[in-house]
Every structure is written in C-alpha cells, then in structure tokens.
C-alpha cells in the first residue's frame, strides 16, 4: 500500500494525537488514534471527500475500516420492491424463514454470516487489507476473516465446501471484481433468509468512490436455487476513520436457548413442510 503523505497534515495530526493523549481513557486513545494516510483538513478532521487513494501499482486502494451505510442490505439484499427469482423449494424455505422471523439463522448459533452479508452488519465494521497478491477482509463480528487471492490463480476445482467459499480477484479499470465459488450450504444470503446451495457462485464488484465511500454490487448465480442470476441492490459503505477493530467473540450467547425453546415449541405444534427437493 502506498501512503500518500502531505506535509501539511503533520501539524494537525500531532495536535490531534496530543489531544487524544490528554483525553483520559485508554479506550478513547485506542479508538481515536489518528491513522497515517488519512487526508485531513487544516483542523485535523479526516477529509472523507478526498480522492480515492491508489497503491504503488496504480490500482485503487480499498484498504480501511468500513461499515454498511444501513442495516437494510443485511435485512434484504435485493433492491427495494423486487423479488429474487427463487425456485419453488427455495421460495418455500424462504417463506418459512420469514414466517418464523429468522430465529434459526446461523448467527444465532454463533456461526458466521456468509458472502456478502458478513460485510453488511452496520454495527460491526470490517477492515480491508489490500496487498499485491491478496486482499484480506477482517470481520469484527465473531473475529472472522476472508481471503481474496489476486496472484493470478484460478478458482479451485472441486474444493471442500467452505462458509466463505474460495475467492479470486482482478481489476477491471477502477473496479475490483471478485469471483467466489466452493460455498458450503448453510449460510443465508441475508437475514431475511434467501437460501443458496453449494452451486452458488458470487461476483462482487467493489468500487471506492472517494476516500470515505465504497460501493458494491453482488451477483448471485445459483441455478439450483434461482431460475436466473440476480444482482443485489448497490450496497454503500462508509469509511470509519481513526478507529480500530475491537475483539468480538460469541462468548455470551444468552439468546440461543430461549429462541430455540420458544420457536421449536411452536414448530412442533405446527410442523413446517419445507425442505429442498
């Protein structure tokens, strides 16, 4: 990663660092640490409207801590007012998940979000680390990570199924295009419960609009669950300046027991008729 340095920042950054050091709590220092490479106004405030940073080889640099602009993408990946072209079994399973308010989604069991919804948890940011041969996503929620290889390798043939699949990335102009395959069945595409099978392939198109904003569109291609490929709404992400990821492990999952007891009791009274055929 190339860090663009502008001498005028130095004074402002030093002033901000001193302010932080005098502020008191360790947590405040940790979370308000002025990060190098952040363009700033004269008052030291991050300039989130500054141009997109680029790496030494001229590619846009996606590195940074990001969060989804809204929880809506996490709730439903599709553009508002549209429906996914689900095959009958998928539509039936989806309806059941909606009817039972998504009580049994994987995260309830401390299992991860999948692709792409691990990125859309607005309250829990993720960090992108972009290096020449690999881009890594570190998800704050549950301390998970995802690797996107950019060293020219091809997607593996017949890999062991994985929650995040296997990802390779390439640049098309200013857009980072990520192809992923080899998914394990079980993750939900979003919290409303759009399902997928092991046949799923995703194509993500990342574009950093400026220093503070990044957009993403995801195409879902799973012929065993959907009658045709479909594309998500444009997902907007906001850079979180001058902060760090914090530990987040699923150590106090008090919700699981009561959710299972309540909803499984109701389902025993009225068994679901869902299931893939």
């Amino acid at each position: 990663m190339r860090i663009n340095r502008i001498p005028a920042w130095c004074g402002a950054m030093l002033a901000l660092a001193i302010t932080c050091a005098m502020d008191g709590t360790a947590a405040a220092q940790w979370l308000s640490l002025p990060l190098p490479g952040t363009p700033r106004a004269a008052d030291g405030k991050p300039n989130l409207n500054a141009p997109t940073p680029h790496t030494a080889d001229g590619k846009p640099d996606l590195s940074g801590i990001w969060r989804a602009e809204t929880m809506r993408y996490n709730e439903n990946l599709l553009p508002q007012g549209t429906d996914a072209p689900m095959l009958p079994w998928a539509a039936e399973l989806y309806k059941h998940r909606v009817d039972t308010k998504g009580y049994d989604r994987p995260m309830t069991f401390c299992m991860p979000h999948g692709v792409p919804d691990a990125m859309t948890v607005a309250g829990l940011p993720f960090k992108i680390l972009q290096t020449p041969g690999e881009t890594v996503l570190l998800f704050e929620e549950f301390h998970k990570y995802r690797q996107i290889h950019t060293d020219g390798r091809q997607l593996p043939v017949d890999p062991d199924p994985a929650w995040y699949g296997y990802s390779v990335g390439r640049w098309e102009g200013e857009t980072f295009v990520v192809e992923t395959a080899g998914f394990k069945e079980g993750s939900w595409l979003d919290n409303s419960g759009h399902p997928h099978t092991e046949a799923l392939r995703t194509t993500e198109r990342f574009r950093r609009i400026n220093f503070g904003r990044m957009d993403l569109q995801v195409t879902i291609d799973d012929a065993k669950a959907y009658s045709r490929p479909w594309t998500s709404d444009t997902l907007h992400f906001l850079l979180q300046p001058d902060t760090e990821l914090l530990e987040h492990l699923c150590e106090n999952n008090r919700d699981l027991g009561s959710l299972q007891q309540f909803w499984q009791g109701r389902e025993q009274a009225a068994p679901p008729t869902t299931g893939k055929q």
Partner: protein, 130 residues
C-alpha cells in the same frame, strides 16, 4: 473531540435506525408491541459479546422482588459511543425502557437506560445493528 463525537453520532444513528439485529433476530426474541418501563437496582453486568446483558431487582406492587434481564448491544458498539465497562455498577438504581421477550420471561431488550441518581442516560444504543 470531533472524531469521537462523530463516532458517537454515527453509532447513535445506527441504533436509531430500526429494530434490525444481525446476531439474532430482534423480532424472533422480543415483541415490539410489549414495551415495559421498570426501575430497580442493578445486580449484575455482563460486559461481553455478542450482547451485553445486565440484571436488576425490581420490586413488585405486592412487595416481592423479581430479577429482570436486559439485553444491550455488543461491547464495541458501546465503547465506540464513549461508554466503559464500569459505566454501570452493581447497586446503581436505573430506569429502563425495554421491549419484553416473546417467551413471557423477565427478559427484555433495553432501549433506554437512565441512572436514577443523576438522570444521566447510560449507553447510547440497544442491540440494533449488532
């Protein structure tokens, strides 16, 4: 400090944005149509993820005491909003506005928490967005 203020405002805006939860479904566990407002003495604070829980004793009208549990957001959400793990202490008297659990237990999802002694509002957000 502007940066922290920006973070607080950002987290507050997430918290206010709706009843969306990521770790588990808000609607599956709690009932938006069952608000409850209770005052009591804090008996335990579990500062942990994916959700902070705290517990308090509430006196019923007949004089008996019931222990209630309240779910909050994760630790990172509240730390980023400027709160610390000892912002709420055992023995504090607090008033909580919450939404009750569907299972009829004494569990609820806390929306606002106010320290009775000072009127200070504790913790910026509930568990929305987590």
């Amino acid at each position: 400090m502007r940066t922290r203020l920006a973070i607080v405002m950002c987290v507050a805006s997430i918290a206010a944005s709706g009843r969306a939860l990521a770790h588990h479904s808000f609607a599956a566990e709690f009932d938006e149509s069952k608000p409850v407002k209770l005052t009591g003495s804090v008996t335990k604070v579990e500062w942990a993820n994916p959700h902070i829980w705290f517990f308090m004793d509430v006196k019923n009208q007949d004089g008996s005491v019931a222990n209630w549990g309240f779910e909050m957001g994760g630790t990172g959400q509240l730390v980023r909003a400027g709160w610390k793990r000892d912002s709420m202490k055992v023995g504090d008297m607090v008033t909580v506005e919450a939404r009750r659990a569907r299972d009829g237990s004494n569990n609820a999802n806390a929306q606002t928490v106010v320290l009775a002694r000072t009127g200070q509002r504790l913790f910026a957000g509930s568990s929305q967005g987590q």
